[in-house]
Symmetry: C2
Subunit: 322 residues, 2 copies
């Protein structure tokens, strides 16, 4: 990432450098960019950032989109039509286009100035997966433009996350089985999260429960929960709550305290218990997403098996035209 950002800054020196970083993708790929967006929103001073569904972006292009923009896209197979279109637009407007994809020779790479591959699959290195590559780009851009005082701490976190996640996945295996048994007949399961980890709650909601299991869901923001959504709470409705590590943990704790009083069927994913606290507190917020997103996989596999509804089942996606 270091070299990519150095090259961009060199190429854009005359034109005024980097002013905006837009993260544009669809569904799970968009969710994977959530921590990077929160990172730049929180740590950046002058840099503008945006986080858009690709089709929203190409239909309603921000006025500032142009040669000072770094457009960071993700498409797993590199062929999501709306995201390829965004890449094409980026090229037309003189933006720097960076495409994250698992398939390096895919359609999106035609319009990309840089192609970043990521680790994926059973044996992936969590420090090199999609979410982390997006974050690393954001961190490197901030460091080389405005500076980022916690850069070394962040890189230390990157070096630790793979082991933390793999231990955590082992730790939840039994409780994931129990969860699957208890919730296999539910038609609604909510997720709750906050901070940079909220993206994992969003992905679990739309990609797993809704898409892969046909279970109704909503990713409720832990702070927003008390301003509407909490009224649906009762002793029947299940919630998965991300008790995150870092600055917004207080929001999650408040939601949990309420749920423990008025709800009953609550699955808590506690980042502290799952080992995330070995990462420095100045940067730990940005690692919640990777932890949750991967721990969920253990739950998802158990749930799919128990429900006899494989995670690969679709009725529309890739099957009909849309």
């Amino acid at each position: 990432m270091k070299n990519i950002v150095e090259e961009i800054l060199k190429a854009k020196k005359e034109a005024g450098g980097i002013r905006e970083v837009y993260f544009v993708a669809c569904g799970g790929s968009l969710g994977a960019f959530y921590p990077a967006k929160v990172f730049l929103e929180t740590e950046g001073v002058k840099l503008k950032t945006g986080w858009y569904n690709s089709n929203e972006f190409v239909h309603n292009i921000p006025k500032s989109f142009g040669e000072n923009t770094v457009l960071i896209l993700a498409s797993h197979k590199g062929n999501t039509p709306e995201t390829v279109k965004a890449a094409e637009l980026g090229k037309e407007r003189g933006a720097t286009v960076i495409a994250l994809t698992w398939i390096p020779e895919s359609p999106i790479t035609k319009f990309a100035d840089y192609v970043v591959e990521y680790s994926f699959g059973e044996d992936k290195d969590i420090g090199e997966e999609k979410t982390m590559q997006g974050l690393l780009l954001a961190v490197e851009i901030l460091k080389q433009t405005e500076g980022y005082e916690n850069y070394d701490k962040f890189m230390d976190g990157v070096s630790k996350i793979d082991l933390i996640v793999k231990k955590a996945c082992k730790l939840v295996r039994r409780r994931a089985e129990a969860f699957a048994e208890q919730y296999k007949n539910d038609s609604v399961i909510y997720t709750i999260g906050s901070g940079a980890g909220y993206g994992a709650a969003y992905m679990e909601c739309i990609c797993i429960f809704m898409e892969m299991q046909w279970i109704h869901s909503n990713a409720i923001h832990a702070g927003e929960y008390f301003h509407g959504p909490f009224e649906i709470t009762d002793r029947e409705i299940p919630f998965i709550l991300q008790l995150s590590e870092g600055k917004t943990r207080a929001l999650d704790e408040r939601a949990l305290a309420f749920l423990e009083k008025y709800g009953k069927r609550i699955e808590v994913l506690d980042a502290k218990e799952l080992g995330l606290s070995t990462i420095d507190s100045a940067v730990v917020d940005y690692f919640n997403h990777s932890l949750y997103n991967n721990v969920y996989v253990v739950y998802n596999q158990a749930l799919a098996a128990k429900r006899q509804h494989p995670l690969t089942t679709r009725r529309y996606m890739w099957k009909v035209s849309y």
Copy 2:
């Protein structure tokens, strides 16, 4: 608004003017700021903007929050603790604090440099309600800093919106009754929206269906629908779809075409049919929210009556401690 922004710019001249505009609130008040956030994201070039739940904001303060920030808050009764806390923080950090509230002598006003009241209730003027006051602040700030070429068109829209909304509410009265009859026994109802109007879908989901009717819901972004959520579609599940006027209408049309093929129980709110197109196409996107948010009221009243579940019913909000 003109005078407020002139005064801010005068006061902040030495310090470097306005660099960030943050919209911070909870639940419905946060939803009401959605069009203003999209406006600045889309039309602004240098100005940074952010849209935060108040509790998220006060726990994870952006580094750029300070004397060059305009912090725009909303709290209906002016006493939402998290939002009052955000106002206090704004004061401490030297930001300009603007509080939108219905009750001018409320706790939040203690920390506000400016208090903006808005029209509310049965006979409210839509051109002066909360959403529009937030938008007007955004428009005025952009005009007086970077300039906004469509300012006059926007103000023309503001002068038209009250009549458009009131006609639309009459137009949907009968179909709202039919909707209430058809959906009175449903336990899940989804909303779908895009663009600056998405905030209305969010508010309907969290404030009405979940909070006031205890119906499960999720506000699905029309572009994201095809990347996960659409898999829950079948001929039983109800959707309310906002067919918006403006640049992202194509996204809504795509979702509608799919729903018409694979779903059955779809209520369409078509902004074109409801009269929004008399507003200039350069600015019309930003008026969808006000139209939907008010047309929903007709549906909500009909649904609540038919379900014998008054919109004022709560089990937790303002009743227990949380």
